[in-house]
């Protein structure tokens, strides 16, 4: 049976660009068909194509920044064992230094904040509120163990330190991190 077709109105310059791209791959009709199929697929995931692309770009950035995936249960197990074996001091030092590296890597506080929100989907709430010379960081996750919360708070402190903030006050307990920081006078 012959496929029924309809005409779509598209912006002139955009349709020209699409025709150019399609010409390198096959027919315009097949290319548009594929694009619309993917838009329907994205819709079925509850997202727009733009959201899908934005997400995938951010996750690609995670790889470039040196993040890798690991089943949550395993990373928690590793941390608990290493915490016991190496002690609190050594472990917090490693997480702090790694956080500092990431702060230097991202350079921009808003970009760092956005990345943490996107990569760490086990965090239910994350925000850095900058007010004048101070900043308040809040991080909540019901999935964090006590040890992991402590280490992750050190990671965040290290990153914020790279952005020129020093810790002034902290409240860290299982799944809850609240850090109050002040901009250091000498950078």
């Amino acid at each position: 049976m012959k496929e029924r077709r309809k005409m779509l109105a598209a912006r002139g310059n955009l349709a020209d660009r699409i025709s150019e791209i399609a010409a390198r791959r096959g027919t315009l009709y097949d290319f548009v068909n594929d694009v619309l199929e993917q838009a329907v697929r994205a819709e079925s995931l509850g997202l727009s194509l733009k959201d899908v692309l934005d997400n995938v770009l951010l996750i690609n950035a995670a790889r470039d920044a040196g993040f890798t995936v690991i089943p949550e249960r395993i990373v928690r197990e590793l941390i608990e064992d290493a915490y016991e074996k190496l002690g609190k001091r050594k472990m917090t030092e490693i997480w702090y230094e790694t956080g500092k590296w990431y702060g230097n890597y991202y350079e921009d506080l808003a970009r760092f904040e956005n990345s943490i929100r996107s990569f760490f989907w086990d965090i239910s709430e994350f925000g850095i509120d900058v007010q004048g010379e101070g900043a308040v960081l809040t991080c909540l996750s019901s999935k964090f163990s006590e040890a992991y919360t402590e280490l992750f708070s050190k990671f965040l402190e290290g990153a914020l330190n790279a952005f020129g903030y020093n810790l002034n006050e902290s409240e860290v307990s299982k799944g809850i991190i609240s850090l109050k920081l002040v901009k250091s006078k000498v950078e």
């Binding site: 109105a9 002139g12 694009v35 619309l36 329907v40 690991i70 490693i94």
Partner: protein, 195 residues
């Protein structure tokens, strides 16, 4: 004088059923069909400029959704390598078992979600941010030959990933016949499990 093509409209032919589905989606979002289609075509151009097809990008997003469902998280690679080096000797068996169980979960999940779960699993290895630079699956006599290569994986992480793959393949109905694992290279041969 040149015409301003951004203000002109051009007609493009498309399958009727897809147009109807997207028209409904545009209505649901309170957008005009024209602006909705413009957004979609802009993303197609964006994907092209990223040297990817939209299909590859949506596939990649679906892989991330599987990770979220599986409770897999991102962690800084350096810390992970450090922890594995420090702990693996003493906890080798427990860790390998955890990776294997995690693989089994992925296999069962993909089997229930995909019409071709083995292909979906290979895509998960390729697109899943495991730090693999090459993943190839070949049909060989009586089974499958899977090869994973990475410039980033330590010996410890290569071994963990090997266990993960074995676990997933068992859930997908394949048993491991032969395996080789060096730093950054995993080669596995599988045959269909009789059970």
């Amino acid at each position: 004088m040149f015409k301003d093509r951004s203000k002109e409209k051009r007609l493009v032919r498309a399958p009727s059923d897809l147009v109807s589905k997207l028209n409904e989606a545009a209505n649901r979002q309170g957008k005009t069909f024209y602006s909705y289609i413009t957004e979609i075509l802009e993303q197609a151009v964006r994907a092209y400029e990223m040297r990817r097809s939209l299909k590859e990008i949506v596939d990649g997003y679906e892989v991330l959704e599987v990770h979220k469902e599986a409770g897999t998280v991102f962690a800084p690679r350096d810390i992970l390598e450090f922890l594995l080096r420090e702990v693996q000797d003493e906890k080798d068996e427990t860790l390998q078992q955890l990776w294997y169980q995690s693989g089994r979960w992925y296999g069962i999940y993909l089997r229930s979600r995909s019409d071709s779960p083995v292909d979906a699993f290979v895509r998960l290895l390729q697109e899943g941010r495991w730090d693999l630079t090459e993943v190839t699956l070949r049909q060989v006599e009586k089974g499958l030959d899977l090869k994973c290569v990475s410039a980033f994986l330590s010996q410890e992480r290569s071994m963990c990933l090997q266990k993960f793959i074995e676990g997933a393949m068992i859930s997908l109905g394949y048993k491991s016949q032969k395996n080789e694992c060096f730093q950054g290279i995993i080669r596995l041969k599988f045959t269909l499990s009789e059970s």
